[in-house]
Structures are given as structure tokens and as C-alpha cells.
Symmetry: C2
């Protein structure tokens, strides 16, 4: 069973104030890159693994999706997602991605934004996703980048020449990482890019695109604090096909 940190009051309060919570998809710097990896969603049956406040579910419906199933472990997030409407086209359900089961060949697209690093058994989940997709179906997701997640003490350091660096250690030691982010003791599961991709391939997926998110020059010009994202990647974006 995955840790349900999002339902802890302090975490939920902090998360609710992030740009991506207030502004939705447009508040997430990586969204344009992830969107570019999506197929045309019109007419598709979509499952969103870790739907949070439902921003993507609503976006998909507005862009012509046939039906959207939004899954999340957090009751508080699901409650807010349901309250945001609409009443038809989206179904929100509580689900633990570590224990998920889904009907076979029921979806054309599986989508997940920044949820898979909370999953301890990626092989089990990827198998479940593979089975729930139609042949040719798409699996598009973002996850925390392993460079971001691996270190004992994830954070910036400043070198002798005043350069910001991101000291990496334990990159090849996979497994849980406990960090303090919005709350104490948040548990994430570190996997290398190789492990993530090989697990997809072994489950039967074909890798279509792998992106270590880099903000565009236009994004940096509009929001100069994004420049530090050039030093080390925070997000890994992947699209694969059944």
C-alpha cells in the first residue's frame, strides 16, 4: 500500500498552494512538453493515474475525450476534483496504484503526471497499464527524474566558483527515498531511467519518446527562476505504446 501523504493536512495545505494546484496545467512548466507527447485525445477513453484535482481529466474532456477515469489515493483531492465538475464524462475513483486492477483493453490512453515515483512496484503497475490498453494504445507519463530523486540530500550546492550544482550520490542504489517536502517523511521510490524503460519494454511497450524536461528559452525569459532547471533535470517524461 502506497503512503497517502496527500491526505495529511499540512501536506494538502502546502500542495494546494503550488502553482500547478492553483493555475492547473498552465501552472506546470513541463505541461507543454508532456502535452506535445500526447495523441489527439478526441474520442479516446482515458485513464489518469494519480489525477489529483482533476485538471488533466477536465482538459481531456474539453478536448473531446469520450470518457475519462480519474484515479487517486487522496480522498481530499478526489473531493475537490468532483466538486469542480462536470457531472458527465469523468468518473473519479479512489485507487492505490500499488494495488491497482483495471479491466482489459478498456482504454486508448493511460496518462500519469508526477505520481509514478510514489509507486514501489513499477513492474506490476506497468503490466496493469499494458493490459488495460487496446493494442496501439498510448501510455504517457511524467515522473520525478532519478537525478532529482537519488541523492541522500537532494538540494543545491554552490561550488568554489559560485556555480550552482546538484550533488548526486546513490544514483545506482534503487529503492525508497524519504524526503521532507511539504511534510516530513514523504516516501518516493528511486529507479534509474534504464530500469523504468526496461520495465516498460519487458511489459510489452514500445518506447516512443523520452524527455528529460528542459524549460524552453521562452519559459525562462518569462520566469527567470526556471534557469536553474538547466543544471539538472527535475522531471522525466516518457511516451510508450502498447
Amino acid at each position: 500500500m502506497a503512503q497517502n501523504v496527500y491526505d495529511q493536512p499540512d501536506f494538502f495545505a502546502g500542495y494546494s498552494q503550488l502553482g500547478r494546484s492553483v493555475e492547473g496545467l498552465e501552472g506546470a512548466a513541463e505541461w507543454p512538453a508532456l502535452r506535445a507527447m500526447l495523441p489527439d485525445v478526441s474520442g479516446l477513453r482515458i485513464v489518469d493515474l494519480g489525477c489529483g484535482f482533476g485538471w488533466f481529466c477536465r482538459w481531456a474532456l474539453e478536448h473531446g475525450a469520450k470518457e475519462v477515469l480519474g484515479l487517486d489515493l487522496s480522498e481530499k483531492m478526489l473531493a475537490r476534483a468532483r466538486a469542480a465538475g462536470p457531472d458527465a464524462g469523468i468518473v473519479y475513483e479512489r485507487a492505490d496504484l500499488d494495488e491497482l486492477s483495471l479491466p482489459p483493453t478498456a482504454f486508448d490512453l493511460a496518462y500519469s503526471s508526477l505520481a509514478l515515483h510514489y509507486v514501489s512496484d513499477a513492474a506490476r503497475l506497468f503490466q496493469t497499464v499494458h493490459r488495460c490498453l487496446v493494442p496501439g494504445g498510448h501510455f504517457v507519463f511524467s515522473t520525478e527524474h532519478p537525478i532529482y530523486m537519488a541523492p541522500t540530500h537532494p538540494g543545491w550546492s554552490v561550488d568554489a566558483e559560485s556555480r550552482k550544482t546538484w550533488p548526486v550520490d546513490r544514483y545506482l542504489v534503487e529503492g525508497p527515498r524519504k524526503t521532507d517536502w511539504l511534510a516530513k517523511g514523504v516516501v518516493k521510490h528511486h529507479r534509474t531511467i534504464g530500469t523504468t524503460l526496461n520495465t516498460l519494454i519487458r511489459c510489452g511497450f514500445t518506447i516512443e519518446h523520452v524527455e528529460e524536461f528542459r524549460p524552453t528559452d521562452a519559459q525562462i525569459a518569462a520566469k527567470p527562476e526556471l534557469a536553474e532547471e538547466l543544471e539538472r533535470p527535475m522531471f522525466l517524461l516518457v511516451s510508450a505504446r502498447r
Copy 2:
């Protein structure tokens, strides 16, 4: 035109003393992992991109390869490879991987060990490799890992708790990196894992396996200095299929 640093006397002298130069494949910690990604080479026509002293070419011939073409930019390395024999089954030719052309569908396997990070135009080379392979042919290579290559000052640092870390910066700034390794001003070309894989995919390859090399526990037990390789990956290993 790629930099021909291997033919500089100081570089060549230093390189000739490395474990992998003296002991051959068995002196390279990543060889067992790379070998495990190879198809059975018996009966195959093979091209080795950056063959160096010809260790892999000879290994392939001993394991039943039909014919092996070893390519390298360094005259000194080719001279030593030729001198090692055998006289039949292997042809060594001088080639610049940045300007390479090869006959179409002439090979079953393209192999490359730690040469691609010297190549500035990966798309051009991958296209050339794709065309030179038969449909279903294999492309298996190792290259320096971008975590290893990206930093302004690649090297270890020690944090406040005496932990060895590898400070990363400029990971998302692709392009040349000038380092001092065996000689001053060695030029390598930094690409993210995403760029390497997407370039392969765009050229028509299917990604089969991606490995960020981790020494095995047995390797570390036999050679304790390998333990630091767990902190950050030095090599990226990829197998792809036409």
C-alpha cells in the same frame, strides 16, 4: 571532423596503460553487461565503430562472427590492432565517425564501445548505422553517461557528512565538453539520455534495452574501488534494433 586525440603521444601512452588496454575486454568492468546485451554473434557480419586495439573484433571472430570491420580514427590504435592479428576475418579501416559512410544492409550487428561521446552529430551517425544494418539488425553500444559528462568540473566532491557526491550542473545544456583526461583539452559531446534515445527512435530504431552501468556486488567484492560507481553512473549502455 572529430578530434583525433588518441594519436597524441601523451594520450596514447596513457591510454595504453589502462586496464582495458592491457587486459582487453576483461579489463573493462562494463563488458559483462554489454556482452549480455549482444545477440549470438556466430555467423554475423559486424561493424565495430571505434574499435581501438581490436579486442572486440577478435572476440567476435573467436565467437564465430562471419566477418568483422573494425573502424577507428587513430592510426596508432589500428596499427596495433592489425599487428595483433589474425590475418583473416577482420578488416581494419581508418574512419571518422562524424563523416562515416557504409554500404546499405551490409551488417547484422553494429557495435561501439565508448566512442560515441566523441561524435558531434549523433543523428547523422545513427542514420548511417541504421542504413548499414539489415532489417532486424542490432545496434549495441556503450557511451559515457551524461551524468558523468555534463558537469563543468566533472569530479568527486565530499559533503558535510563525508559522503562522496558527484556535483552535476549543465545537464540540460547539450554540446561540447572540454576535459583533461590523459591529455589536455579532450573534446566530448554531451547529450542527454533522452536525446540519444529519441535520435535512435527517429532514425527508425526500436529501443530494446537501456542500462546505466552498475558494477555487480561480485565485481565490487573483487575490486572494492568499484563501490564508488554506485554513486553515479559512468557508462550508458544501449541496445536497439533496426
